[in-house]
């Protein structure tokens, strides 16, 4: 938690020597608190004070990353309890778990499938983030074989799971050159696990049943010099997960106790639920409510897509709607006799429409009005996509020079604008399209120039 000016002042030399460029230590402290000065400007500050100030300035939830430079998971650095207060920042990593007692070919097939899975959502390519490999065999050689096989099938970040340091060591040897997440240190094995994590410069998950035991082990591994930590409070079921993750977020933002909970939380949706359907519901809760990493035991594209969309939605910055650039978009290489449709620059609206126009295979011009990132009806209600705006967009876009006809298709949702538009756009015929984008391809087939 950020310190106040007075708290910072107490840590300064209090000599008022002015070397920092400020008349007094207090003045300097105030500027520091307001983030208008850098601590380095004071040459006299003690190392102890420096450490205290730096740790106070650190984010309440540490940023943790693993994987490699190309494909990595980066979570943490959250500062809010509620997204509307600012934003949630780092989308939780979604991993699927495989075990070393499953048939090897099955594991390889599943991992390849997950590795190549991606889905297009409003112009973004979304995919799952990584694989968790768990040792059930407790045999170093078996675990190593599975980790090696998984590594062979995917470059995505891995998490290695065992509480046996010997088994972990064997696994780590297979992933040299990349950074896995080491899962996990507990009250018994923490020394050996901390040593392995440090040796491999890998983040370490800490697990314990309940918050008090958890902070105790976190304290141990931190004492042993591990800084990059992920925490697992073993709160598995729907109710526990919600309560405990809420507690952790609240305490972490208050830097309590002693920042020992200031780390991303890992959850296991498959362990707190029965079957794929229930797992999807629990994973959804954890995405919304404070998880940093969610490990699942099932993979089904029909569930992965909605989960990825949900994650995208909850982690969009509420301070700015996602927009596309207004202007003329050519879809399927249109010529001067092809149809013209208009919509808004809210990115969800734009992609819903553009995807349909594209999939129709019919060439068309898509004119995007600057609705300041609002959807069709919201834009209309706010006066950002009304007859005036549409008419001005048509007139100033230069579209009239590109097409030979004078017909404009408007969204079905704003059919009431057609009369007003025909008045404002002299010589144009206004055609009302369907209400939903899904119906655009069929509608487009009816076009005659």
């Amino acid at each position: 938690m950020a310190l106040t000016g007075l708290e910072i002042y107490k840590l300064l030399p209090k000599t008022n020597c002015k070397d920092c460029g400020f008349p007094t230590c207090l003045a300097f402290a105030m500027k520091l608190a307001a983030k208008q000065a850098e601590l380095a400007a004071c040459p006299h500050v003690s190392d102890e004070a420096k450490a205290a100030l730096e740790s106070a300035a650190a984010p309440p939830i540490r940023l943790i990353s693993f994987g490699d430079a190309e494909q990595r998971i980066q979570v943490g650095n959250e500062t809010e309890l509620y997204r509307h207060d600012k934003s949630f920042f780092h989308k939780p990593g979604l991993l699927v778990r495989v075990r070393d007692d499953q048939p090897l070919e099955e594991v390889e097939r599943l991992v390849s499938e997950i590795d190549s899975y991606s889905v297009d959502y409003v112009g973004q390519t979304l995919s799952l983030d990584g694989i968790a490999v768990q040792s059930v065999s407790k045999d170093p050689a078996t675990f190593a074989k599975y980790v090696g096989a998984v590594r062979g099938k995917t470059k995505r970040p891995l998490m290695l799971m065992t509480d046996d340091a010997e088994v972990m060591k064997a696994g780590l040897a297979e992933v040299a050159g990349t950074t896995p997440l080491v899962y996990a240190a507990n009250s018994d094995n923490w020394e050996a696990m901390a040593a392995l994590a440090k040796e491999h410069k890998a983040p370490l998950a800490v697990t314990a049943d309940g918050l008090e035991p958890l902070v105790e082990v976190v304290g141990h591994v931190r004492g042993a010099g591990v800084e990059d930590i992920v925490i697992d409070p073993q709160a598995r079921a729907f109710d526990d997960s919600l309560e405990v993750l809420t507690q952790i977020r609240r305490l972490a933002l208050q830097a309590k106790p002693d920042r020992l909970l200031g780390y991303p939380v890992i959850t296991f949706a498959g362990e707190g639920s029965e079957g794929a359907a229930e797992e999807s519901m629990l994973a959804a809760q954890q995405i919304v409510k404070y998880a940093g990493l969610v490990v699942m035991d099932h993979f089904d594209p029909a569930v992965a897509y909605p989960l990825l969309a949900l994650r995208q939605n909850i982690y969009t910055d509420p301070r700015q709607p996602v927009q596309v650039t207004p202007g003329i978009y050519e879809i399927n290489a249109p010529g001067k006799d092809h149809q013209l449709l208009i919509t808004t620059n809210f990115s969800i609206t734009y992609f819903s429409v553009a995807n349909e126009v594209e999939s129709s295979g019919i060439p068309a011009w898509l004119l995007i009005a600057d609705s300041e990132g609002l959807s069709v009806l919201t834009g209309w209600a706010a006066g950002k996509f009304d007859a005036d705006k549409i008419a001005t967009t048509v007139k100033t876009s230069g579209i009239a020079d590109k097409i030979g006809h004078r017909k404009l298709v408007i969204p079905g949702a704003v059919s009431v604008l057609s009369g007003e538009l025909e008045d404002e756009l002299d010589g144009w015929e206004i055609m009302v399209g369907p209400r939903e984008a899904v119906d655009i391809p069929n509608f487009m087939k009816l076009w005659k120039a």
């Binding site: 509307h84 889905v119 105790e216």
Partner: protein
Amino acid sequence: MAVALELSKKKWTGQVREVVLGATEAEGGTRSRTVTAGGENTLPFLDFEAPVPNPPRIAVEIVDRKPNDWSPILIETWGAVMDDPAEWAKAVEKLDVDLLLLRISLMDSEGKETTADKARASVRKVLDATGLPLIVFGPGQTDKDIEILVAVAEEAAGERIVLGVCDDKNYKTIVAAAMAHGHLVDARTAMDVNLAKQLNILISDVGLALNRVLMDPTTAALGYGVEYGYSAMERLRLAALQGDKMTQQPMLVTPGEEAWRMKEAKVGEDVPSSWGDWEERAISWETLTASTLIHSGADIVVLRHPESVHRVKSMISNLWKKGE
């Protein structure tokens, strides 16, 4: 080194009002039981702060005629009962849900505009067929809604049904009808804390007791703006808990309607293979939308698919500890 940990417990000063839906014979209606929504004194399911007296309630939506714009999956799942609202209502009751939402459509199956008399008849049929407390939504056009809901209110006098949607354009008439015949209203605004609050004030100024008002902050489907609904509801709930009396209404939202409008739920052909199995995707679209809204404070969610009902029910039973 044992670390003493002091948990973070908030003491909220405000509480959500309890609203009772439906009336039994003893209360002047014919419902087999009543359903209470709201009453929370903490954020969803955080019962370490305060007991949560009522779980989120599930309503299932039916239509007075077989709808022509619903997803083929829903049409196939419900099957023949869709031709008769009474049969459809009975099928819903078998799912062991809390509430039934009957939507009156603008056009009947012969393409003629629905009349107030037809709407009355549909409501009567449904009331006679089931004992579930009822919510009735008009077609969604101001003039028609007024005409239909006023008639429906009279037909269902004493049943303590919910009339919806009640908005800033029709509220005077709808609220008067609710007051005259002992009903409740579903007060809908466009995802905005102040608008929601404002409409509650207007409604209570007309004279309807606030324990007869549900607040409907509007929602959008997963992938199509659900985050706006999520945050609007979270802000409304926080305002209520912080003591703002005019935001302390239980919230009703319609994730079923929103999710099933979307291409992901509606369309099975010519979609990317990464979308996976159509039915599973469609149901997940509905259940994840509903789950998200329940976690931001929804007290009543209106669903459409029986499997979604099953999944959301099971989620709620995993989260809600019977008011303890």
